[in-house]
Amino acid sequence: MIEVDRIHVRFGEGPGAFIALNDVSVTIGESEFFTLLGPSGCGKTTLLRSIAGFIHPNEGAIRLAGQDILSLPPFKRPVNTVFQNYALFPHMTVAENVGFGLEMLGRPRAEVTRTVEEMLALVKMTAMANRRPSELSGGQQQRVALARALAPKPKVLLLDESLSALDLKLRKEMQIELKRLQSETGITFIFVTHDQEEALTMSDRIAVMSAGKIRQIGTPREIYDHPRERFVADFIGDTNFVQAKLFADGTVELPGGARIRASLPKDAVPANRAVTLVIRPEQTVLEQAPEQAQLSGVLENVVYCGTDTHYHLTLTDGARFVVRRQNNPARPVTFEKGQRLGIGFDPQAAQVLEG
């Protein structure tokens, strides 16, 4: 559907130029909810603006349904954007805002009116049709911006941090709303966020970016369970990194000597080398008997967090390790600080990373 093919974007000239996108390639399918996730400044907006046509990449190609769109100006690309600050036209009513794109496309007045009504109903803003943007709350402006971008029925909808300005409760509501709109319209959504939780809950697939590069593309489950590099594992969710050694037979030796069959990366890793194991805190349990567990550590700190409790341990090699346990008042447990405890986990839930 939309193919970004090895694009490079540089700001400035010569040796002082800043490389905002470095050899970025991604293919996004029809009706997909695709998320660009990464820390601030990693190039998400730059990629989105390249697709919208506001930035012309120095190298590479962007194809939409097989056709190269790089030579097209923004107003000729069948792509619409929901801007981060909404960018609603202040001198137009809500209905005029929503109808603007269709009007520019030269659609008959009757069709414009009908589509505007449909779109306003879709985002539940029919009652506000004759208001000005300045008379709306942030969440309402957000909906109008969405309706305006959806009205011309673009092939691709680009959303740049569209929810980050909203407060938590409204954001949760809009997340559900966005998913509903996406499945009802069947339009491909490219959604930008720096919020990993938002990305995990909403996306069909996620591209994790950092420093102008795409680090990993996959479903939320793939990204979370099988990160391909340390940056991805660290950025998404809380993580324990454990130093280990990989042997030729595919087993991994943990600090303390235990050997397990952990989840190996798709690309082969040279054997007899130091590797890093990624182990999620909620996929581990504490055991009273350290001798039988895969890992063991001394309990340093216990942090109560409402739904669960975090146990901070120090492993035998000195590394820090966190175990998360869901609180259950019916089955209270007590672990003493300074106590030596075992850490248990399913070996398949431990991901091996190179280096």
């Binding site: 107003f75 954007t81 801007f83 036209f89 202040p90």
Partner: protein
């Protein structure tokens, strides 16, 4: 009785506050009376009096001043006929002021847009350049224009040197000269409010319009111009109003021949010694300016809703 005590205190306090408020307003009221309303009353009064033989007025009621705005009376039989000279001057004033406003808008809009789209650090420098002419006396600036366009001036000299013309083009003492002078002098008054409104323009609105299939021309018409409309209206008024009353520029660049309303008024108080007519003409100018301001208020009220 005790219950009413605080009440009378309150009344006294209120009265004191009212008095203080009037005291505070007094300077403003005095200035308003002395500087605006007083002279206006004098001008209105004079316009209904008889002209004195050597200037000044004779205290007799008369319509002559007002009749003189649009008519002339035959010196022999006293019959009235339309004052073609006055009407053509009035028309020239309105026409040249409107054209000045239009050209200032055409030149000022891209200028203001250019400055508003520079990096923030450079904008002040550009605005400084725009305002530099204000530092020079109007008379000197007008003579500078004259130096450019007179028959032996720079423009004609250059064209002759190039061999494009062999006779100098007569530019001085024409409507063109006045127009050129006024556009040059009043252009900053257009650029300043335009720039102020463009600087506040949210440039992501332009991107949003591009994104929604608007061609560059339609972005200009549907998004940029409506957004900067208050600046356009303010700039137009700031240029139109002083143009209508312009005096120095038509006097120098128009010679004695291409008069504008300001020169006509000056003539009545000076050489012609017809103060009532001068007063009536001044009030005519005031009415025109007020009409322009009403248009302005209407236009900006529409914007504000």
């Amino acid at each position: 009785m005790a219950a009413t005590q605080p009440n009378t205190d309150l009344v006294a306090a209120n009265r004191r506050e009212t008095r203080n408020r009037w005291l505070l307003l007094l300077p403003a009221i005095v200035i308003l009376l002395a500087a605006a309303i007083g002279p206006l009353i004098v001008v209105v009064l004079y316009s209904f009096l008889v002209a004195g033989d050597y200037g000044g007025v004779v205290w007799h009621f008369s319509w002559d001043g007002w009749l003189g705005v649009f008519t002339t009376s035959d010196p022999f039989d006293g019959t009235l006929s339309l004052a073609d000279a006055h009407i053509s001057i009035l028309w020239r004033s309105v026409k040249l002021s409107a054209l000045t406003t239009l050209f200032c808008l055409i030149l000022g809009f891209p200028t203001a847009y250019f400055i508003a789209t520079r990096p923030v650090s450079q904008r002040d420098g550009w605005m400084l350049l725009i305002t530099i002419p204000f530092w020079t006396n109007l008379l000197i600036r007008t003579f500078a224009i004259m130096g450019l366009i007179r028959n032996e001036g720079l423009v004609n000299g250059f064209l002759e040197w190039l061999g494009i013309i062999d006779q100098p083009i007569q530019m001085m003492f024409t409507d063109f000269a006045i127009l050129l002078g006024m556009v040059y002098v009043y252009l900053p008054l257009m650029v300043l409010p335009l720039y102020a409104s463009m600087e506040r323009l949210n440039f992501s609105l332009i991107e949003a319009a591009y994104d929604l299939y608007a061609t560059p021309f339609r972005v200009l018409r549907r998004v940029i111009i409506p957004a900067v409309k208050p600046g356009v209206v303010a700039g137009s008024i700031l240029v139109f109003v002083p143009s209508l009353g312009a005096y120095v520029i038509p006097r120098i660049l128009g010679g004695g021949t291409q008069l504008m309303l300001g020169n006509l008024i000056e003539l009545q108080f000076g050489q012609a010694r017809n103060w009532p007519l001068g007063a009536a003409l001044s009030l005519t100018l005031l009415v025109m300016v007020t009409a322009a301001l009403i248009v302005y208020v209407r236009a900006s009220a529409n914007e504000g809703e």
